[in-house]
Amino acid sequence: MSEELLSVKNVSISFTQYVQGLNQHELKVISDLSLDVKKGEVVAILGSSGSGKSLLAHAILGILPENGTCEGDICYKNEVLTQQKKEAIRGKEICLIPQSVNFLDPLMKVKEQAIGDVKGEEREEALRKQREIFSKYGLAEEVDDLYPFELSGGMARKVLLSTALLSNPELVVADEPTPGLDEKSVKETIMDIKNLKEEGKGVLLITHDINVALEIADRIAIFYSGFVIEINKTENFADTGKLLHPYTKSLIEALPRNGFKLTEGVQPLEEVPGCVYYDNCPIKSDFCKENRPNLIKCGDAMIRCHNYDKEVK
């Protein structure tokens, strides 16, 4: 149960942008992010839209855009993934379940996309496998020959899921699998992800839907302004007393008022020297303004807040 699949260590992702001619500008989207996913475990990373969650997924698979750089280590089964290594195992041991139907080639039948670039006998075998997994997720035979624009929302999601899972990967990175789906499809998706976990796969679930995270995940990482500020067991989210970070606490307390929707966190645009939550924190001290807290272990959880430095010491 506790065999480690993915471990992300102090990863930062930034972009080089050219503003006004030749002036280079570094835009840091993710800072010092650490988390890990074990076999048979679902870890959710919860953050608002546009906060860089998809980029983390892309960094794990080695498909960041050209102007993006990724520092820190991403390890798979305790082995650091170099770009070559990522290229070798992506689509085989690690797979991505993408966000929307836009991730399918508009001019290619879905079955052709699912099987990938195979020829001859391999192709027959691949098509058989593809049919098998499409049936497993309730896709009728007619769907094989459809083009992406002909799929309904629920069908598209199933196609993306089965296409990603065709190679029977061990680690699944699911990027926002639920938005835009009707209630029935959301339920199905939740079931599908739970089943992946039962099969012993590790799942990194990227979402901005706290309810989905609470329902599926074993642990939840809270992503705020480019930083992971807390990683805690899902059961602890039922009781704010067991949560650590002031932001997480206020987030959960505010849920009933906000109709159980995640509030858009106020995210500082400029890099601050101290704690990113300083401006909104009710328990801040002067020390927090100039000194950045590190993500440290606190029991089973991880926390990024100076209040817990002392406890640990």
Partner: protein
């Protein structure tokens, strides 16, 4: 034939009729307003008595009201009668047929050559975005797009005919005679340099467009997902990017029929190639109104065909639109 196809054909037919009518009336009025006097053109400055002149003016219908003239011309046109050419002294339709065939060979060759080479260069450039091949292709496109095609033609003429002496300069057939006497080899030799020029010029827009289109496709989400599934390199481009680039590129190439025709007019002039463009210039210079009107009509038909083919590409080849029943635009 399904409903959509019927609707498409019906719409196109209406388009075509309206376009032809508009072009016919418009160009007729323009020529009427121009200082061309058919009697003078016919006489070529010969001196005649006023009585003889009056007879000629009546023959040409010079003093009839404009509406009568247009009506007369249109009703002849509907019967397929475009009148007689003043300078060739044969029916306009015969002149156009022969000359247009010559131009058609030139344009078709250039269209295919520039299309294939342009698309190929665009793909190579886009795949190596930012590399030296990309820069080279871009440079070529910028230079060619900013240089007028008759200038390119002159440069080629100087290189291949004057400097290298591979082809004779100006193998023109005297204006006013049809060129059926020329042997097939003479004709082929005549074809080489204009085709080269038009192809060189035609490569630029299609290469640039293909390159940008491929760069866009390669940064799309579906390429990202394909890469995440382990596809990479040339097979990835061939399987997914090529199709998504080819369709818009081909559509553009069909839409370029108008530029192709314009380029042909100039290039034929430079190389004295006996095509429709050269004939148009001759007809203009020598006030051959009937021939000029005929040429305007045939060029409108040509451009219309290009645009229709582009629409066919768009509506019937692209599966996204092919299966979309709500086709009620146009």
């Amino acid at each position: 034939m399904n409903n959509r196809t019927k609707k498409f054909i019906r719409n196109k037919a209406i388009h075509f009729i309206l376009l032809m009518l508009a072009v016919a009336i418009f160009s007729f009025i323009l020529l009427e307003l121009s200082p061309i006097d058919p009697v003078n053109a016919y006489l070529k400055q010969a001196v005649i008595s006023p009585e003889q002149r009056l007879i000629l003016e009546q023959y040409w219908g010079v003093n009839q009201p404009l509406t009568t003239k247009i009506w007369g011309w249109l009703s002849n046109l509907l019967q397929g009668n475009l009148g007689n050419s003043l300078i060739y002294r044969v029916p306009v339709i015969d002149v156009i047929y022969e000359r247009f065939m010559a131009s058609f060979v030139l344009m078709a060759l250039s269209w295919v050559i520039s299309g294939i080479i342009g698309f190929g260069l665009g793909i190579v450039a886009g795949k190596n975005k930012g590399g030296w091949i990309d820069k080279l292709v871009k440079l070529y496109c910028y230079v060619l797009q900013s240089a007028p095609s008759f200038w390119i033609g002159l440069v080629i003429l100087i290189i291949f005919s004057v400097e290298l002496g591979w082809f004779p300069i100006g193998m023109s057939v005297a204006i006013g005679t049809l060129s059926s006497d020329a042997t097939i080899w003479q004709w082929l030799a005549r074809l080489v340099l204009p085709t080269l020029t038009l192809s060189l010029v035609g490569v630029a827009p299609i290469a640039m467009y293909t390159r940008n289109e491929l760069v866009n496709v390669l940064s799309s989400d579906y390429i990202l997902f394909a890469r995440a599934r382990g596809e990479s390199g040339w097979p990835l481009i061939e399987r997914q990017a090529l199709r998504n680039t080819l369709l818009p590129a081909l559509t553009l190439q069909f839409q370029n029929f108008a530029e192709l025709f314009g380029g042909a007019v100039l290039v034929e002039q430079v190389f004295s190639y006996p095509g429709i463009g050269q004939t148009a210039v001759a007809a203009g210079l020598q006030s051959d109104v009937t021939l000029l009107l005929g040429i305007v009509l045939i060029s409108a038909v040509f451009v219309f065909v290009g645009n229709t083919l582009a629409d066919v590409m768009y509506y019937f080849v692209d599966p996204r639109i092919r299966e979309n029943e709500s086709f009620d635009k146009n």
